[in-house]
């Protein structure tokens, strides 16, 4: 196997836990969007938001805002709060990505999610060129998982809505909005675990 294939293989194997996480979490976000967002064609909405945000928390949090037609300022404030932590991820990547070409770096920054950040900082690849390739493959793979997850979640609800009445879907999915709170609780629990383990 050539070196490109080897690096891709490595990125793919490392991405498998993310595959599990993104497709299922994305699917849940997609179902929530389809059921509650009140947009004309939810699969397209899911696809666009998934590709643009690449942020699970924002994908969940945006749903009630869209449904209430919240102001753009409110959306900006919510996004700022939810994704504030991303502003600190780049700090660790400054030196690691120093030699990455401009447009590739724009893409890697776009994909700077919790999961990509964790894998990219943990990687032990020493060769700089190979490391850049690794980051690019990893980002592209994880983006595809996330988009597939969200879009398929929307599609399932959209198809069901054609078969059943929207009121029945609404009644059946009542309470599903807890998924977002649960996501926050899970993140918080893991953060606290890290805090107490490392004494930070």
């Amino acid at each position: 196997m050539n070196i490109n294939g080897k690096i891709f293989r490595r990125a793919f194997i490392d991405s498998l836990p993310v595959l599990m996480g993104y497709t299922t979490m994305g699917f849940a976000a997609g179902v929530l969007m389809g059921a509650k967002a009140d947009v004309p064609f939810s699969p397209l909405w899911g696809f666009l938001t998934a590709a643009a945000f690449v942020s699970g928390t924002l994908s969940f949090a945006i749903v009630p805002l869209v449904a209430q037609s919240a102001s753009l300022a409110a959306v900006a404030a919510m996004t700022l709060m939810i994704n504030f932590r991303y502003a600190f991820y780049g700090i660790s990547m400054l030196s690691k990505w120093k030699t990455v070409p401009f447009f590739k770096k724009l893409f890697l920054i776009h994909m700077l999610t919790d999961e990509n950040y964790a894998l990219e900082t943990a990687s032990t690849i020493k060769d700089q060129k190979l490391y850049e390739k690794y980051c690019t493959y990893l980002s592209a793979l994880n983006l595809s998982y996330w988009i597939s997850g969200v879009t398929s979640g929307c599609l399932v609800v959209y198809a069901l809505e054609k078969a059943l009445s929207p009121e029945r879907i609404k009644a059946a999915t009542q309470g599903i909005e807890f998924a977002m709170v649960a996501l926050f609780l899970v993140i918080f629990t893991d953060q606290m675990r890290g805090f107490f383990r490392h004494g930070k």
């Binding site: 753009l72 991820y89 780049g90 920054i109 599903i176």
Partner: protein, 106 residues
């Protein structure tokens, strides 16, 4: 009416993406030149600030649930307990959400 809604939705994606991208690219913009050394407090603040924000979001999002009943608190306890012992985010989220959905219906 419908076209206004579509314009609104497009603007919404643009705002969400714009703010998110600005945050992700902030260090690259601020510390692009070698001369500027990274102050050590930036890293420490980064570790501290995230849980505080998430905690705030939890409190905020509870206000849109049936927070006067015990349902959301029990569902929250189920989520946290499962995450503490099982460490599988998906199981914790599905179980917590299912608990909440069931409690809403009894």
């Amino acid at each position: 009416m419908e076209s206004n809604r579509i314009l609104y939705l497009i603007a919404l994606v643009a705002v969400g993406w714009g703010v998110t991208y600005a945050l992700r690219s902030l260090p690259f913009v601020l510390f692009s030149r070698k001369a500027r050394e990274l102050p050590p407090w930036v890293g420490r603040l980064g570790v501290l600030i995230s849980p505080v924000i998430i905690a705030f979001l939890i409190v905020y999002s509870y206000s849109s649930l049936e927070w006067r009943t015990f349902g959301p608190y029990l569902a929250g306890a189920v989520t946290v307990a499962l995450q503490l012992f099982w460490r599988n985010p998906l199981i914790s989220i599905i179980a917590g959400t299912a608990t909440y959905m069931i409690l809403l219906r009894v």
